[in-house]
Symmetry: C2
Subunit: 429 residues, 2 copies
């Protein structure tokens, strides 16, 4: 065999898994059809966080009593900086893989048989094949030439009027950021609330803040057509049409299995996703699938984790996924984080009672810890500044079977946002 493992796709899960194998002296082939690092690093979570950070910086100073500010943003210049950040990360990962001996081939890879992958007309044999082909945005027939995550994050100007079709986490993150950067933002969501994938009380905090920021939210609304003629015209059932200079389509993502060759091997599917067992093996045991293409929430850290599990099994270390404390984070205002699951009881503390948040001029949100009757922490839902950073103490507590008393008695530095979690862990009896 030419390789111990061949990866189709170098996204978050793929390159991370490859690195784990490379560090343990395995021979690794990585096939990438576009850019090393995949969607998250190049076009998703990394550029979006840079943009959100910028919008929050602007909003903070605009809101701060005593501060007067005039500013302008040369988005072309900013995009260059953003691209330098992306390149540092993706380039670093690629170089590290190469330095550990990986062979990286650019081109469209597919599976020929259970031990052969093909790219650019060349076959390579491999003991194991890992499918990490990710996901693509859902496109709606007849609605063409709109913006998706890639285009919106590459914009070289700030839209005047931005209509967002789909109020899931991508649409809401982008809507919040561009509103803070000055755009007039409309969000059109088919369901009866935004962020339908998130617990309702968390989503409600974001909904409230978005309206306060002046974002127009239209729930229970269905887009009939989007026409482009210089400007866009968006027709919505039962409402007047809207004109806009930019339309973002963010109605979900679907697994990307096109032309991977999986149908030839009769690999079992779960709907559009590739079916995998707890080891991240497909129905063909030496072929693994990880990340978005393999089902479950489409999150980079879930892909990393899948990649770890697949690598361990390839290394002969029998390892099964444990998604018990898989966090979900949305970089909205307030920032939302959720981990674990609800329990028999919960305590809830408002952000207004958190001194550190007040020093940031942030007042919206809450800290909610779920626990069982014996005090074991089962999960948490947080809508508060920097909740993406503090949620991990709850994940760790869930993974380790810790109780609210364990959390309460852990000394949290003062003043921090994470003290809100400690306060929510206090027994009131």
């Amino acid at each position: 065999m030419d390789f111990d493992a061949a990866f189709i796709g170098s996204g978050a899960g793929g390159y991370y898994s490859a690195l784990r194998l490379l560090k343990r002296k395995k021979k690794v082939l990585i096939i990438e059809k576009e850019k090393f690092g995949g969607e998250c690093l190049n076009y998703g979570c990394i550029p979006s966080k840079a943009l959100i950070e910028l919008s929050e910086g602007i909003e903070y100073l605009k809101d701060m009593p005593g501060v007067s500010m005039n500013y302008s943003i040369d988005m072309k210049e900013w995009q260059k900086w953003k691209q330098s950040v992306v390149t540092r990360i993706t380039g670093g990962a690629e170089k590290l893989c190469l330095s550990l001996g990986a062979k990286i081939v650019y081109g469209k890879g597919s599976i020929k048989d259970r031990n052969t992958v093909t790219v650019n007309g060349t076959d390579y044999s491999a003991e194991n094949i890992i499918i990490d082909t990710g996901s693509v945005p859902v496109k709606i027939n007849g609605i063409d030439d709109v913006y998706y995550n890639r285009e919106i994050l590459a914009m070289e100007n700030i839209p005047e009027k931005l209509v967002i079709i789909g109020g899931g986490y991508i649409g809401i993150e982008m809507g919040t950021a561009f509103r803070k950067l000055g755009s007039d933002v409309y969000i059109v969501e088919m369901k009866d609330r935004i962020l339908p994938e998130i617990e309702e009380d968390l989503a409600r905090e974001v909904d409230k803040k978005l309206r306060k920021l002046g974002v127009k939210i239209m729930t229970g609304s269905r887009v009939q057509s989007v026409k482009k003629n210089g400007k866009y015209t968006v027709a919505i059932e039962g409402s007047e049409s809207m004109e806009a200079d930019t339309v973002l389509m963010s109605v979900g993502r679907v697994p990307n299995t096109a032309d991977t060759g999986i149908e030839k091997l009769g690999i079992q599917m779960d709907g559009k996703f590739i079916h995998t067992d707890g080891h991240k093996r497909t129905s063909v045991p030496n072929i693994y699938a990880i990340g978005d293409v393999s089902g479950g929430p489409m999150l980079a850290h879930k892909a990393f984790y899948d990649g770890y599990v697949a690598a361990e099994n390839i290394l002969g270390n029998d390892t099964v996924v444990d998604y018990r404390a898989l966090p979900f984070v949305v970089y909205t205002d307030p920032e939302i984080a959720f981990t674990g699951k609800s329990g028999a009881k919960y305590n809830k503390v408002p952000v207004l009672a958190n001194p550190r948040s007040l020093t940031m001029n942030q007042k919206e949100g809450f800290f909610k810890i779920y626990y069982d009757d014996d005090g074991s922490i089962t999960g948490a839902g947080v809508a508060a500044p920097r909740s993406s950073e503090s949620i991990t103490e709850i994940s760790l507590a869930v993974e380790s079977g810790l109780s609210i008393d364990d959390l309460f008695l852990t000394i949290h530095p003062h003043p921090t946002v994470s003290e809100g979690l400690k306060d929510a862990a206090e027994r009131n009896d």
Copy 2:
């Protein structure tokens, strides 16, 4: 007895301890000679974090490629906002104590005998007395009329030239903030490095960044005199004198035991601190001392924790302090956090390898996890954005006897700064 517990001082430890007793139906007296909430809330950690946050907001936009900004700060207006934040926190705490039945008396309290406190000429009897009189800045004979933490945090203009005597955490936090707000900053430190109370590798990151920001750091330097005549003239041994419009004296703090009456009862001391046992009892068992006055690091969260321990013992729940994972946080650039202790081994990962930090345009610092040969986490030192928020996962790990594998296998959301801790928990063998 009039009260189950009488508190002398309503600082972080005092009011927190009082609240715990009040929630459990104890009769509580709180004596406060100045402002409810004490030094931290009124003049220390809360106002300083608000100022630091402002300075970081300015610096971030000034540094960001593509952003042009003009700004001015009306510090009088800003101070009003800051004061509103402080008042919300202190007023909230005071109201909560009152609503739970506390008697609050403003005046200078002292101990008359082991069951009596006196304030404004009135005696009150109490089963337990808790001393929470905090600390005061060290003043140097002959150097008068300079700024201390209270004055510098109340400034209604941004100093043109600020000389800071003492490079401990207060001096460095203020020096960083005012430099970012435009002051010309000089730091004079007697020892051979700044932040002598912090691990050297952490302090070095801050030293490097301060110099990059243009702060002049003079270590191994002793101030001879400070004269005020309109402007200040600061004379330094072996150097030329400096003129400055503002001089901050931050050479440490000492416990505040003046006029507390403790000498009458022959309460045992540890130098200038009140000696306490693990229950936070003084040598007179129904008299407790908590927070800065009782020794150990002068940190609000240590005071909260002391207050919790004292309250539990007063409630009859035998409880002993456990400072094993007492975190230390400095809100510098990069932000520093330390918890636990060093171990047999460590892993260190640079901030430059942390994608989330890069999206914030932050590149300095590292994540360092200490562990023993069996993998048990013993502590961590972090110099990275928002380290105050992520350090608690390490404190929780130390408290709970978790290993680097437990931490590594806990799914950290992507992209977050806390992923740096996960990466530092990865075994490289």
